[in-house]
């Protein structure tokens, strides 16, 4: 029906540059009307966190995010899609994850980015461990039931 979406997926230690990633999708094109980006950042509202350490499953992380991106490209008419997930130690205030979705129309870009984040949270093989400012390990972050429920919003009826 439409051209196959070629998504960019990167798992990396360094930070990303949102403007550069938007430019990489839109430069020289006049068929994109809407670009939605989602940046996920490391929070520390209690002031007790020195860093989150992100462990991932190399190989599967790229593959699983690629599968989620492919599904997004089948469900929404996208002109471009980029997902970058960092690993290693990430300090409060730093970026963790970026999704960029480009489409002719705004609703597709919004929904695809929202879907990507919900699926990333519940399916991408990453785990966060807390390191405290007092030098102790804060333990592994527990998965949230609300994230599982958020991912369920996108389930399609089996008849489709």
């Amino acid at each position: 029906m439409s051209a196959v979406l070629v998504a960019t997926v990167r798992i990396q230690r360094p930070d990303f540059d949102v403007a550069a990633e938007i430019a990489a999708l839109t430069q020289g094109r006049v068929d994109i009307g809407a670009v939605v980006t989602f940046s996920g950042l490391c929070r520390d509202e209690q002031g007790a966190l020195s860093a989150l350490e992100l462990e991932h499953y190399p190989g599967m992380a790229e593959a699983e995010i690629g599968r989620i991106a492919t599904e997004a490209g089948e469900r929404w008419p996208l002109q471009g899609l980029t997902v970058i997930h960092r690993h290693g130690k990430i300090a409060p205030g730093e970026n963790i994850v970026l999704v960029v979705a480009a489409s002719a129309h705004r609703q597709a870009a919004f929904e695809a980015a929202d879907f990507l984040m919900d699926y990333l949270k519940s399916r991408a093989p990453f785990w966060k461990k807390e390191h405290r400012t007092d030098g102790s390990e804060g333990g592994w972050v527990e998965a949230k039931e609300t994230d599982t429920q958020a991912a369920r919003r996108w389930k399609r009826p089996p008849s489709e």
Binding site: M60, H85, V97, P125, W127, K128, W140, E142, A143
Partner: protein, 85 residues
Amino acid sequence: MTTRLIYFAWVRERIGMPEEDVELPAGIETVADLLRWLRSRGEGYEHALQYPDVIRVAINQEHVDHREKISGAREIALFPPMTGG
């Protein structure tokens, strides 16, 4: 046949190693069988897998549920619910 088992996060910490190669005994047909067998291998395994329902499993880097057959799996990964994003 040798199967590579890979562990992540607290499953890795409790078992005490990131991965190992095992020869699966006869009768271990599903993911659930594998989890049961592993728990019998020592304290670290028992601690890691005491609540098998929460353990997530990937075969050859794809998510599977606990009823999945494991015959022919090169690589089986066990890990807690994911917390990326």
